[in-house]
């Protein structure tokens, strides 16, 4: 990877409007090579919109996005994926009837050179190509520890595992930048710990840059190098986790939204709740060990 000191992704004063609704207003941020960045904010702050803009699903009315030094504001999703940006979705978007292996193989599609006839006959280069891609997918299966469910239809899996399969499919595209939209939503403690470990491992082993949207502040504080806070489509803070957590503007944003409902604002983190460090933990009670 080219380490010329420039950030991998630069978002410059991007605005997105849906009719009268301003989803993002002049948001600027950078994602450095190899870092894990968290994007947080109250509901409706524009987090998913930002992810959708970066992955090319929405096109901003104003502003520019540069990836790896070149402008790509107006590219469509497949072109952006080909550049090396992969993502997962807030609501799992797997092919439910297909096996886990096949689902992950779809992540390799962009890397495949197709020839209808050769593929249909499965001869020569088509066969070799499939075997190469399958070998790559097997490395991901091993990496994400999903050997036992290789041949299981994705729709039959529990939610936490579906999320993991989605991560595998995103990784199959060998992205430089991985966008994770709420990777831990709806997971139990154990599944979250596993996912934390995988995110750190992906970052460590493949050097993949990761941007994630997340609500679980424990996770954010533990595994992220930097946090960007959005509120009503504006960026209100950007910095290391502990600094952001103490930022009055951030406190205010969370209090302002949540205080009426009586729900907790930006949750205080118990110092012992070390999510990533406890990745080896397994909840044993009530868990059948078969």
């Amino acid at each position: 990877m080219a380490g010329d000191g420039r950030p991998l992704l630069e978002v410059e004063r991007v605005s997105v409007r849906f009719g009268e609704l301003v989803a993002l207003s002049a948001v600027s941020l950078e994602i450095g090579r190899g870092e894990i960045l968290a994007i947080i904010g109250p509901n409706g702050a524009g987090k998913t919109t930002l992810i959708n803009v970066i992955s090319g699903f929405y096109h901003p009315q104003e502003g520019r996005i540069r990836f790896d030094g070149t402008d790509r504001t107006s590219l469509r999703p497949p072109d952006i994926a080909a550049l090396g940006i992969a993502r997962t979705f807030q609501n799992v978007a797997l092919f439910k009837g297909m096996t886990v292996l096949d689902n992950i193989m779809t992540g390799r599609l962009l890397k495949m050179k197709g020839s209808f006839l050769l593929d249909a006959l499965w001869v020569g280069p088509a066969r070799r190509q499939e075997l190469e891609h399958r070998a790559f997918v097997e490395r991901l299966v091993d990496f994400l520890e999903i050997e036992a469910i290789r041949k299981t239809p994705a729709g039959r899996l529990p939610y936490g595992l579906q999320k993991r399969v989605e991560l595998a499919r995103a990784l199959a595209a060998e992205p430089q930048l991985l966008l994770l939209d709420e990777p831990m939503a709806g997971m139990n403690v154990e599944e979250k710990e596993d996912m934390c470990r995988f995110i750190l491992d992906v970052n460590g082993e493949f050097g993949t840059t990761i941007a994630l949207v997340e609500h679980d502040m424990g996770v954010v504080m533990d595994i992220c190098d930097r946090v960007v806070v959005l509120d009503y489509g504006r960026k209100i803070a950007d910095g290391p986790p502990d600094q952001v957590q103490a930022d009055p503007a951030v406190m205010d944003a969370y209090l302002g939204v949540y205080s009426e409902g009586g729900s907790a604002p930006l949750p205080n983190l118990p110092p012992g709740e070390d999510c990533a460090g406890g990745a080896g933990a397994r909840m044993k009670a009530g868990e059948s060990s078969r």
């Binding site: 399958r134 036992a148 750190l200 933990a281 009670a285 059948s288 078969r290």
Partner: protein, 651 residues
């Protein structure tokens, strides 16, 4: 083949020498396979020998001296078996540890065994070792196989297996015959392994076994059972357990057969189907869980299929029961069996990966008659084995054609068994251990003039079959003097698919009461089919419907006890369902899943008192230990249910 029962030929008296002989005689035969990246990767005996040699050279380059110990921690992996051999090549002693041990247990064994080297599977184990390293000052090097996640670790004493082997190759440059010289210095009476027994009481004890112990036991059993070099076995039980060492290491090297390492603990059943082992070993709980899985799936099947399966399974089991009790077998059942094979047994056996089995063993605990009969009725040659770490795993095996429900077979060649005056089983054999490491006191209590006190109460029946009743010290009496064998009752309870674990208490009490652990998978499935909703184990365990279910099972046990003249007085009067699963991390059961009775009695004293009082519920709070050593608590209101004893008929 004539087999010397108690002597070893020169040149074939240690595992490194035997492995080298395999590499010379059958270099291209597959010695070990591992499923990795979705494919079964094979390693021949030539590879086995070469890999072990390069690991040995690497260890030598780090200053490994004769007698040094290598701690080995991880799932069954070829690299770890090679490390066992490599350590033995250098005259060292491998010390395998249970891979799911918590840090405190690991620290104890590492420190007690004085291991200088540790070879482990992956980051999880490295992390555990790094955290206990300060308590184990003798531990100098940690070697890991899988480098994943370890990139950022910079400790100087930490290196990968590949790096170790690379160092070995450089070392070999200056010392080309180092390993060969060390192998030549090895003798039959060198220690081959130290197996730490989990022990139902007190701290673990390091059982020392020599090459002679292991080779003779492995060979005598192989000869008696007719093992061939084309056997396929699945190595899936913990390497720290002496049984795995005998089946997946010692017998493989002695007879040259192939060992298969599954991809992960979660894929064992699928991998078994792919390999189709011919020789299979499992403790009763594995057979139980296979049976439970089968039954759950059958219950989910369509009505016709379900009916068909039940009819034919009943038929086969009736036949098998008649065969085992040597009653005449009815003609029409025998005539229908082939049809059953075609429709039910064949496909079922195929699906379980058991079709090629020539012999399957169960040991460790008594197996439920229903489970035993189920597998045998499918045509699987399942046999009971008796043994323990102190006997190099094996004392007796049921011979083909001499299989009984309630015995553990006849002693192996060269094994003598006698019953002491107190009714305890004692044995003497070439496999008898060399003593407990650094524990002469315990050795003295167990080993007497070459005879081992097994700690089990039992007797020889009129046909020379050994029959085990219970742990000798567990057999006791109720307050009114009735004989009470807790394990016997517990095993009867556990034969139910819904009961995972049970502890019966009655010593010196007015009646017997039981603490029951439900099987989460089986009861959960049962509840779902009945539309009973639950949120967690604790919630499910305390459902009145589940109590009714377990009540029936207790009733069944009482009925069966009522037929036993000696034990009918010790029926279960009260029971409760525990709010948490007994777990080795909480020290309630051992890593091999044996109940630590004393510990449980102490920990659940409040529950036990309530069981022997008039109360109908009790509030509890239990501490739970996570695998990384953290703890949490579970609160519950546990109900107590009365069970009706079956009236004792005046005989």
């Amino acid at each position: 083949m004539s087999v010397p029962l108690a002597t070893l030929e020169a040149g074939r008296d240690t595992f490194p020498k035997l492995a080298r002989a395999n590499a010379e005689r059958t270099p291209d035969k597959v010695a070990i396979r591992e499923k990795d990246l979705g494919i079964w990767q094979s390693h021949t005996w030539r590879d086995y020998d070469a890999e072990a040699r390069s690991i040995a050279l690497g260890l030598a380059s780090l200053g490994f001296a004769r007698g040094d110990k290598t701690a080995i921690v991880g799932d069954n992996r070829p690299q770890l078996y090679w490390t066992v051999l490599a350590t033995q090549c250098l005259g060292g002693v491998p010390v395998p540890l249970y891979q799911d041990s918590i840090e405190r247990e690991m620290a104890y064994i590492l420190d007690h065994s004085e291991a200088r080297f540790a070879v482990v599977e992956d980051q999880e184990q490295v992390d555990k070792l790094l955290r206990v390293r300060e308590q184990c000052p003798r531990l100098e090097y940690i070697v890991y196989d899988d480098p994943r996640g370890l990139r950022g670790y910079s400790e100087p004493f930490l290196l990968s297996l590949a790096e170790l082997q690379e160092r070995g190759r450089k070392f070999a440059h200056d010392n080309p015959t180092w390993v060969e010289d060390e192998i030549a210095r090895g003798a039959a009476d060198d220690l081959g392994i130290i197996c730490y027994t989990s022990g139902t009481t007190g701290t673990p004890k390091g059982t020392m076994l020599s090459h002679r112990n292991l080779i003779l036991t492995a060979r005598n059993a192989a000869a008696r059972e007719g093992l061939r070099s084309d056997e396929e076995v699945l190595a899936y039980l913990p390497m720290a357990w002496v049984g795995d060492h005998i089946f997946s290491y010692a017998q493989s090297i002695v007879t040259g057969f192939t060992v298969n390492c599954p991809e992960s603990a979660a894929t064992v059943l699928a991998d078994m189907k792919e390999i189709g082992p011919t020789y299979f070993f499992a403790p009763p709980r594995i057979f139980e869980s296979i049976l439970t899985t089968v039954m759950i799936r059958i219950e989910d099947a369509a009505w016709v299929k379900r009916k068909l399966v039940h009819v034919f399974l009943d038929l086969a089991q009736t036949l098998e029961r008649q065969r085992l009790s040597r009653q005449p077998r009815s003609f029409w059942r025998r005539a229908l069996y082939p049809l059953g094979w075609l429709l039910v047994y064949g496909p079922l056996v195929d699906n379980l990966g058991l079709r090629r089995i020539r012999r399957a063993y169960t040991a460790g605990e008594a197996i439920g008659p229903e489970i035993f009969v189920f597998f045998r009725s499918l045509g699987i040659n399942l046999k009971q084995v008796y043994g323990m770490t102190e006997s190099s795993a094996l004392v007796s095996i049921q011979k083909d054609g001499e299989v009984r429900l309630d015995t553990v077979g006849t002693p192996l060649p060269a094994v003598e068994v006698r019953i002491s005056e107190t009714g305890e089983v004692m044995y003497r054999s070439p496999g008898v251990f060399q003593g407990y490491y650094k524990n002469p006191e315990a050795t003295g209590q167990t080993l007497e003039d070459g005879w081992v006190h097994s700690g089990d109460a039992g007797f020889m029946d009129h046909e020379g079959h050994l029959k085990i009743v219970d742990r000798a010290r567990d057999v006791s009496r109720l307050a009114d003097g009735t004989i009470f064998a807790p394990k016997y009752l517990e095993n009867k309870l556990k034969f139910s698919p819904y009961v995972r674990e049970a502890v019966c208490i009655g010593q010196g009490r007015a009646y017997v009461a039981a603490l029951v652990n439900i099987d989460f998978a089986a009861v959960g499935n049962w509840a779902e089919r009945r539309g009973i909703t639950y949120t967690s184990y604790v919630d499910l365990a305390q459902k009145p419907e589940v109590y009714d279910l377990i009540h029936q099972e207790v009733g069944r046990v009482n009925t069966s006890l009522g037929e036993d003249e000696v034990l009918r007085g010790a029926q279960i009067r009260k029971f409760l369902i525990l709010h948490k699963e007994l777990d080795p991390d909480d020290e309630e059961i051992t890593r091999t899943r044996k109940v630590r009775r004393g510990f449980v009695a102490q920990k659940y004293a409040a529950l036990i008192e309530a069981l022997h009082s008039d109360r109908d519920h009790v509030e509890v709070e239990a501490k739970i230990t996570y695998e990384d050593g953290r703890t949490g608590t579970v609160r519950a209101d546990v109900k107590i249910r009365d069970a009706q004893p079956v009236a004792v008929e005046a005989a």
